[in-house]
Symmetry: C2
Subunit: 337 residues, 2 copies
DNA sequence: GGTAATTTCGAGAACGTTTCCGCTATTTTA
DNA sequence: TAAAATAGCGGAAACGTTCTCGAAATTACC
């Protein structure tokens, strides 16, 4: 029924052996140029497509890499995947996609059932409360390289690529300060993630440097959605000592915050400054436009994939940590005038 | 080196044959409950993971489906993938991702080099000027089912799922008319795509129904980006007879249009009404908020995947065309007051 | 208590490829 | 011109499963 042209068909047609066909199709050594050309010709004529299950079985390596991440429905992750995909495509790798919905259980289930025998490597950004680190280590011990990006598991020794969360936050908050804001709140991401810790640290250090108060009331941890931004800001507005600026862990939250501020008639910039992180396209669309720290999502995707491919090709490639600088993009939401 | 636990290891450990282990691991028939339990126990103990290359080879079916689409960095497609992924995950299928960047050449290259021998089916949304339809048919003839979504290849006989582009456009334009707009322009997508034709038809028919003029000057075909929306609107504003409303093929273009209108000091709604299509989250963020026709992206993804799975399981599943209704979401951009 | 039916299992081929080994011719070397 | 090297190819095992067939052991039947 579903019969595909195989190497055997070519061999039979040409009256030569399968081993010769196999060699002709890949290597250039040990096979006469003439027979080689005849094979290629016949392969084209019969429209031969290699069976990757078979090659995978025989060679012990498919050309698949898995990408595991929390979401794809946002600017950052979809752009990272685009970068990954670009490099993978160039190098003849295909990508297998797993999305965890940011659920630790789902993540665990995925990683437990991973077809590691047909995967050459993993690219992963962990879930918010991931408890799969043991399983990732197991995968690594099985000889499958893993590269983390953005949301990294920091006690696992392997390559990681991320943006400079600390300095990005630091610069951003300094920008707020230099624009005259003094009571700066931070609506942060889940405390478990390394990068929220780094952004928080950057925020705190910037405040300290300029002798501004750090208040626990002004630091709220929650999720990354627009809704989270809204509820966080509601909470902030209830503080006896109301902040005059908000640094959000990402643009989505910042936009949520702006939307409720606007709905309450609070002037963004003038009364309360807002700073985001990511440079989501929406940050330019909203009015007033949102000042933010741009993350090089595409580069992060590309670099992650490049590193993974190095791990795959070189047996003992030394793990690298790559940190891309962010870029402060100043817009209207942090201007008092 | 990279040695994985196999079925043979389990067999040797338990002093039984591989065939018994194989049966025990899958079927429930033809194997004693006790031995079955022993096998499962040992498999768990040794941390056995099935080799999908081997099963794929032996059974002639991997559990992979390919998803081929133009982009993933937008709301619509990333949401569709999320829906696909949801169903695939539930059903034990994994998804292999290919993105064409909306390039016909890239698409062709991808489809030509598809590992069809390790793919159970395809989910595809074609590139703007796709010339790969012959290759898609070839894939289908090879016994690999294909389901198209959104951007369908309409002369290929297989299942398709899309939104109701015609009626969505029709309703949307009628809404504009009922709000008092009389000179309605349409900034459309690439003419080659079926759905831009349908939206265009809906637009024209709504105008005809209400005896409003249809002017070729008011219909502009270009791409789907925000930039396209901007340049389209520049062109419209140059018309001797300036339109008083713009129906954009999607929200991105609509937002591009709004941005330039705003920059020119033209009051959106009051002077020129704007209508989008998609219900991208940005449509709610922009000010004034954008009236649009919501597409059920998640449902489209789910349904596509369900249909594909039916095609895969049932030998001769009759192709279905599923059309989801859109939903007009009325916001500020189409109000004159 | 003998036959028939059923349950449980093993042997071995098959899936499509790669790769090691060895066999001929042919060419090179001394 | 004989010996050695090499180029080109085929045979066959191997990768990890599934699956068909049939054998052995157990149970059911009268």
């Amino acid at each position: 029924m579903k019969h595909f042209i195989t190497i055997k068909d070519i061999a039979r047609e040409l009256n030569i052996s399968v081993s010769t066909v196999s060699r002709a199709l890949r290597d250039t050594y040990d096979v006469n140029v003439e027979t080689r050309e005849k094979v290629l010709e016949m392969a084209a004529k019969l429209n031969y497509k290699p069976n990757f299950n078979a090659t995978g079985l025989a060679k012990g390596s498919s050309h698949n890499i898995a990408v595991i991440l929390p979401f794809i429905t946002n600017y950052y992750f979809s752009t990272v995947i685009t970068g990954i995909q670009e490099i993978a495509y160039q190098s003849g790798y295909t990508i297998v996609l797993y999305v965890t919905n940011d659920s630790p259980e789902r993540e665990l289930d995925i990683i437990k059932n991973l077809p590691i025998t047909s995967l050459d490597g993993l690219l992963v950004s962990i879930a918010s409360n991931s408890d799969a680190s043991g399983h990732f280590e197991e995968v690594i011990n099985n000889g499958i390289p893993v590269v983390f990006f953005d949301r990294v598991a920091n006690h696992i020794e392997t390559s990681k690529v991320m943006q400079d969360d600390y300095n990005g936050a630091f610069e951003g908050v300094e920008h707020l300060i230099s624009n005259g804001y003094k009571k700066i709140a931070h609506i942060a991401g889940p405390a478990s993630l390394t990068f929220t810790q780094n952004r928080l640290k950057g925020y705190q250090d910037a405040l300290s440097k300029h002798n501004l108060p750090i208040s626990e009331d002004w630091i709220i941890h929650s999720g990354f959605s627009q809704e989270d931004g809204k509820s966080d800001v509601e909470q902030l507005l209830k503080c006896k000592n109301r902040p005059d600026a908000i640094f959000a862990a990402n643009d989505r939250k910042a936009i949520g915050a702006m939307l409720t501020l606007k709905s309450k008639g609070i002037k963004i910039g003038k009364e309360i400054g807002v700073l985001g992180f990511t440079n989501d396209p929406s940050s330019e669309i909203i009015s007033p436009s949102l000042t933010t720290i741009a993350e090089p999502a595409l580069e992060i995707g590309k670099k992650s994939c490049e590193l993974l491919l190095k791990h795959i090709s070189k047996k003992h490639f030394h793990p690298e940590e790559v940190i891309f600088p962010g870029k402060l993009i100043i817009r209207e939401s942090t201007s008092k005038v």
